[in-house]
């Protein structure tokens, strides 16, 4: 598919309340994504990790521009750092309107020096890492789900 891009970002959770409240909000975010993304041709994955959101969205370039603008204005998070926005050959999450890669207490990425950084190379690397890790997690998640079914 021509004009296919993916965008990866990390942002800081600003949801007030306990972890139950956070889970609830993540559910509502996923509900929005499941409702809206298929019509826009968007797929992707979301991870909540140590107080940060890590998300990859993939789809047509102009659609991602607009969705990103909507998401970054969402007051459930802030300090958005876009790691990359690049053309891709094929989707990494083609079967998921928005896969939940996990909700974890510890941050699994080395964010020091990336958040608020101007070091493009480092950001791109972390972006690629993020996509790779999310792909792996989603696959694991998927096999767990199908195994338990």
């Amino acid at each position: 598919m021509p004009n296919l891009y993916n965008l990866a970002y990390i942002s800081k959770n600003t949801i007030k309340g306990d972890s139950e409240k956070v889970r609830e909000e993540i559910k509502s975010i996923l509900a929005s994504a499941h409702k809206n993304n298929p019509d826009m041709g968007v797929t992707g994955a979301l991870l909540y990790s140590g107080g940060y959101f890590c998300q990859v969205i993939e789809g047509p370039e102009d659609v991602l521009e607009e969705l990103y603008e909507t998401i970054q204005m969402d007051d459930r998070h802030g300090e958005v750092t876009v790691l990359h926005f690049e053309p891709i050959e094929e989707r990494g999450f083609s079967e998921w309107a928005m896969a939940l890669a996990g909700i974890e207490d510890d941050m699994r990425f080395d964010l020091d020096g990336v958040l608020g950084s101007k070091d493009e190379l480092k950001m791109k690397e972390t972006g690629k890492d993020l996509v790779a890790v999310l792909e792996k997690m989603v696959k694991q998640h998927q096999s767990v789900l199908s195994g338990s079914a």
Binding site: Y9, L64, E65, E69, M73, G78, V80, T81, V82, K118
Partner: protein, 457 residues
């Protein structure tokens, strides 16, 4: 908001759908007293690195950035009384009633500086803010926009994130703002107005000789534009070129400069050894945005005047970003036969990689290098000497002809000559001259050289 105003086409900015400058000016002027009494604040904002982004990523993306930022502002500031795009990358918000202005500034900073993801690029902008409030320092609402822009201007000059208007700024206010308005009046953004200003002789070129001390000839003259203001006299380009760039009239003015300089150059006498005097023309970074227009203007000027192309030297400022697009343009200009010079070398990026990739003939050493050369302060002299020699040897290594600007004393000149630099520009030989004075200078310089030649013998 006053819907009648907001919806009138002449007061709407077509790119963003926001109100334009006229819209906010009208709104402020017509604000009823009872609202003014509750307090009015005007916040103006500029995207600080926008020029650079626009220059390196293209005007199309530039427009996309402006409209995306406009949308963010609209979303976040639905409680604002008025939102306008006043020009280029400048926005303006009006708040009335008891509002915490610091909170608004925080919001504006926050949302406009969040990363943008557009056309496959991630762009992070920074903003500068100028604020004015109705009160003792500004008593009339029609003065508020002006006052906020003065504060913004100050913020920009002093590299501050934000600045509030105060009475002290008022004097500067008059100066700077008046100048910008006058320029707008003189140029607006259309050719007709510019042609009018040109035929009124409001713009003119002066020429500063670049002397070749090895052959005692005038190598070239640098064309320097001046704005001959009807009331304020000559205004230097440092004061109006940035404004011309901002209100997007630089290509019109730039094209006039190119054509005028080429036709003036033809009227210059030859040197006493028969060689022709070249003309050096400054090209602004914004002229590179419409690179096709730039190349075709130069081509046309060469054809119209029939000037030998190698006499035309185009000076490109170093600090502008050099993308591959820009390098292609410089290549195209050189294919026409023109020479190219890197201006102000050593002050901006000074990247040696750039020297390898940009097709160049000359580099111009910035005046700041040699300012202390041969001066009283020995330490400064030594430092200046060291860096001058280093830069000159870089020029030599890259096979570029160095031109040294700002030479004021014969000590400096002699020293430079010892180091192999022979193209010298500065007050030692001449300040910028009117065209007829330039002709006289060239004639006299030849005669003097002959006399000197006799003396040497």
């Amino acid at each position: 908001m006053n819907l009648d105003l907001q919806h009138s086409a002449s007061m709407t900015d077509p790119l963003t759908g926001l109100s334009n400058r006229l819209g906010v000016e009208t709104y402020l002027r017509e604000l009823p007293d009872e609202i003014t009494a509750t307090g009015v604040s005007v916040v103006t904002m500029e995207l600080a690195r926008f020029g650079k982004v626009n220059d390196s990523l293209g005007a199309d993306l530039g427009n996309k950035i402006i409209s995306t930022v406009a949308k963010r502002i609209q979303k976040v500031f639905s409680h604002a009384d008025w939102i306008a795009r006043t020009h280029g990358d400048h926005f303006c918000l009006v708040f009335t009633g008891g509002i915490d202005i610091y909170e608004q500034i925080e919001l504006l900073n926050d949302f406009t500086q969040r990363p943008l993801a557009l056309r496959g690029e991630v762009i992070v902008l920074s903003v500068r803010i100028g604020v004015s409030e109705i009160g003792p320092s500004v008593e009339s609402t029609s003065y508020l926009l002006h006052a906020a822009e003065v504060a913004l201007h100050r913020a920009k000059r002093e590299q501050m994130k934000r600045c509030f208007f105060t009475r002290n700024l008022e004097h500067e206010a008059k100066e700077a703002h008046q100048l910008e308005n006058d320029l707008r009046v003189s140029l607006v953004s259309n050719h007709v107005e510019l042609h009018k200003a040109i035929s009124n002789n409001e713009f003119k070129l002066m020429y500063q000789p670049i002397v070749d001390v090895a052959s005692d000839t005038v190598h070239a003259v640098e064309a320097l534009v001046r704005w001959n203001h009807p009331k304020r006299g000559l205004i230097s380009p440092a004061d109006f070129i940035p404004m011309a760039e901002q209100i997007q009239v630089m290509d019109v003015l730039g094209n006039w400069i190119i054509r005028r300089a080429c036709s003036d150059a033809l009227t210059l006498p030859t040197n006493s050894d028969g060689s022709h005097v070249g003309v050096s023309i400054n090209i602004s970074a914004t002229q590179f945005i419409e690179s096709e227009i730039l190349v075709s203007t130069v081509k046309q000027a060469l054809e119209e005047t029939n000037i030998e192309p190698q006499l035309v030297k185009l000076e490109i400022t170093e600090s502008a970003a050099f993308g591959s697009e820009k390098i292609r343009t410089i290549d195209a200009l050189r294919k026409l036969g023109c020479k190219t010079a890197l201006d102000d070398f050593g002050t901006g990026y000074s990247s040696l990689t750039q020297l390898n990739t940009i097709p160049l003939d000359y580099i111009k050493l910035d005046r700041s290098f040699i300012a202390a050369l041969g001066g009283e302060d020995q330490l400064k002299d030594q430092r200046s000497d060291r860096i001058t020699r280093a830069v000159l040897s870089i020029a030599q290594t890259f096979n570029l002809l160095p031109v040294v600007e700002g030479v004021e004393t014969s000590t400096q000149c002699k020293r430079l000559r010892d180091y192999g630099a022979t193209l010298i520009q500065g007050y030692l030989f001449s300040k910028p001259l009117e065209l007829d004075e330039t002709r006289k200078f060239i004639e006299n310089f030849g005669k003097k050289a002959q006399v000197k030649g006799v003396e040497h013998a």
